[in-house]
């Protein structure tokens, strides 16, 4: 099947680019940033499955990210468990929470769902801040160990880059597979018309909960990776602002486009670095990006740029019929 080969080829090329990249950037600040691009890509893809495919708004996804980070962080730093074990514990616990919460929350639609997820996110954030005995509160949790395999420690940016991107690439591959499958179609059907999807036999209620859980699972794994890379976490990273950032990444990249989420994540991780000189303006620019994106490119970069290119260059118009 030609489209399947195209999928695999795209993934292969992307993976190659990821593997080779450090050779150009090794050592130095940019490596650290690319590590975050990896984490944010993972988070954006996870959110995209829920937001872009199934069409369910979540403004509280930072909570799952934070739960993964804190559960793994606390169990390793305070209780001395192995980070690999706590990865499994944290992701399982977060997934169970998401599964249980998913049923009542996903009965809501539109604005109400947005608000409920927002509320959930804020409750979790407040909990991180207030349970000082466990989480060390606003000043943050220190002493989180790096991952290690035997005597090999993931203690440098380059090593963590490969570790994190390994997980991210797996996430991308699985998500692309899912997107182009029967389940992916069912999700998009729910997005376009939940009623019609149900009439066609899609168990919309349960499928939404499943994808919500999967999304939370991936986000919590990203949280664990984040905690053990940074070795320090604080509640500030897991609040409402970050949840909005994630939504922005997905929207900017393009709802329903897995690779779009990478672009969105990359853009929004790198942008603050460039805006560092205009420090006070970062919030402003952020809000502006959101507004302009929705107004002019609601389909995201992945669809918007080809559209603009097609409109600006008449020569391309003739071949437009071939572009999907």
């Amino acid at each position: 099947m030609p489209s399947m080969k195209k999928e695999l080829l795209t993934f292969f090329l992307f993976a190659m680019a990821v593997v080779i990249a450090p050779l150009f950037f090794s050592g130095g600040y940019l490596m650290n940033v690319l590590v975050f691009v990896g984490i944010n890509t993972m988070l954006a893809v996870a959110l995209n499955l829920l937001l872009g495919f199934a069409g369910q708004i979540s403004l509280g996804h930072a909570a799952f990210f934070g739960l993964g980070a804190y559960i793994s962080g606390v169990l390793t730093a305070t209780c001395g468990y192995s980070p690999w074990l706590t990865l499994i514990i944290a992701s399982t616990a977060t997934s169970v929470l998401a599964f249980v919460l998913g049923f009542p929350i996903l009965k809501l639609k539109g604005h109400y769902l947005a608000m409920a997820t927002l509320g959930f996110g804020i409750i979790v954030y407040i909990a991180f801040n207030e349970t000082v005995d466990i989480t060390a509160g606003p000043s943050g949790l220190t002493g989180i160990p790096n991952y290690s395999i035997g005597s090999f420690q993931f203690d440098s940016d380059t090593k963590n880059y490969y570790l994190i991107w390994a997980f991210t690439l797996v996430t991308i591959l699985l998500s692309v597979n899912l997107a182009n499958s029967r389940i992916g179609r069912a999700l998009r059907a729910i997005h376009d018309s939940e009623t019609a999807a149900r009439v066609m036999g899609v168990n919309a209620g349960f499928l939404k909960v499943q994808i919500f859980t999967l999304s939370a699972l991936i986000s919590s794994v990203a949280g664990c990776l984040y905690a053990h890379t940074m070795t320090f976490i604080s509640p500030a990273s897991f609040g409402f602002n970050f949840s909005i950032e994630l939504v922005t990444m997905v929207v900017v990249g393009g709802l329903g486009s897995i690779y779009g989420s990478f672009f969105g994540a990359a853009l929004l991780t790198l942008l603050p670095e460039f805006l560092r000189t205009f420090q006070d303006f970062d919030i402003l620019v952020y809000g502006l990006i959101l507004i302009l994106m929705i107004m002019f490119m609601p389909g995201g970069i992945v669809r918007g740029i080809p559209e603009i290119a097609g409109a600006l260059l008449p020569a391309f118009k003739r071949t437009r019929g071939e572009n999907a």
């Binding site: 499958s181 029967r182 389940i183 998009r188 019609a196």
Partner: protein, 250 residues
């Protein structure tokens, strides 16, 4: 095939349906007609699981399916189309029909994510099957078009193709001729007959009297929430109460 037994539905103070009973025979085309406000769409929504009746039962074959949600009814072979077509606008024509095949496949999240071999075989079957249904309804040339961009008449055909892909025992159509011109309506009539020939029972709610009288084997007439009459087209046409209820043609 399908039986409604004493269906009553009240919305707050309004009684939309009162003690409606009728049956639909296998492999026949049954029409439900009635003046505006008679309760046809409410009845339809109850049978197809979108509303719950206040009283009464629905039987599919021998099975009591009262209160079953649409997804459960789909697995038992009951499907419907919508008056304001509910297509998956962002998906292509082919993909829309492939969703219709959802109940004919079983790969779950894990199987799809990891592209397990069972899933691949299934995908191929789904694709082939969908192509067949596009053919059946005569829209194969529109395979890659986004459903939201289809002209209205083609959109209707897609809705039917998608519903048929489910391989239902009974298909319920909500005003399928609404918005179609006379040529498209004729085509629709042929398609509905073709569906009956393939062994599927058809129930339709319609206002287009010509179409109803032309293709229906049996007609149920509703008025003001009650069943007024049930019988062959001839019997209905000659029924004085029906004529009175409509006060003239159409």
């Amino acid at each position: 095939m399908l039986r409604a037994d004493g269906i009553t539905k009240t919305f707050g103070g309004l009684t939309a349906l009162e003690d409606v009973s009728f049956s639909v025979r296998d492999e026949e085309i049954t029409g439900i007609i009635g003046p505006n406000g008679a309760g046809k769409t409410t009845l339809f929504n109850i049978i197809t699981g979108l509303y719950t009746q206040s009283e009464g039962k629905i039987f599919l074959g021998d099975k009591d399916v009262s209160g079953f949600p649409p997804e459960k009814l789909a697995r038992l072979g009951l499907v419907r189309t919508f008056q304001n077509i509910e297509l998956f606008g962002q998906m292509t024509v082919l993909e829309n029909i492939m969703v219709g095949l959802h109940t004919r496949s079983r790969s779950g999240i894990v199987s799809c994510a990891f592209k397990l071999p069972g899933h691949l075989k299934e995908e191929r079957k789904i694709r082939a099957n969908a192509a067949e249904w596009m053919d059946f309804c005569g829209i194969s040339d529109l395979s890659g078009v986004a459903a939201g961009n289809l002209p209205f008449g083609k959109g209707r055909l897609l809705e039917i193709a998608r519903a048929m892909a489910l391989a239902p025992r009974v298909i319920l159509m909500d005003e399928p001729a609404a918005g179609l011109n006379s040529r498209e309506t004729e085509h629709l009539a042929d398609l509905i007959r073709k569906i009956r020939e393939s062994g599927v029972t058809v129930v339709l709610v319609e206002h287009d009297m010509e179409l109803i009288m032309d293709i229906c084997d049996s007609i149920v007439v509703l008025n003001l929430g009650r069943k007024l009459a049930e019988g062959t087209p001839r019997e209905i046409q000659e029924n004085p109460e029906v004529i009175a209820a409509y006060l003239g043609s159409d």
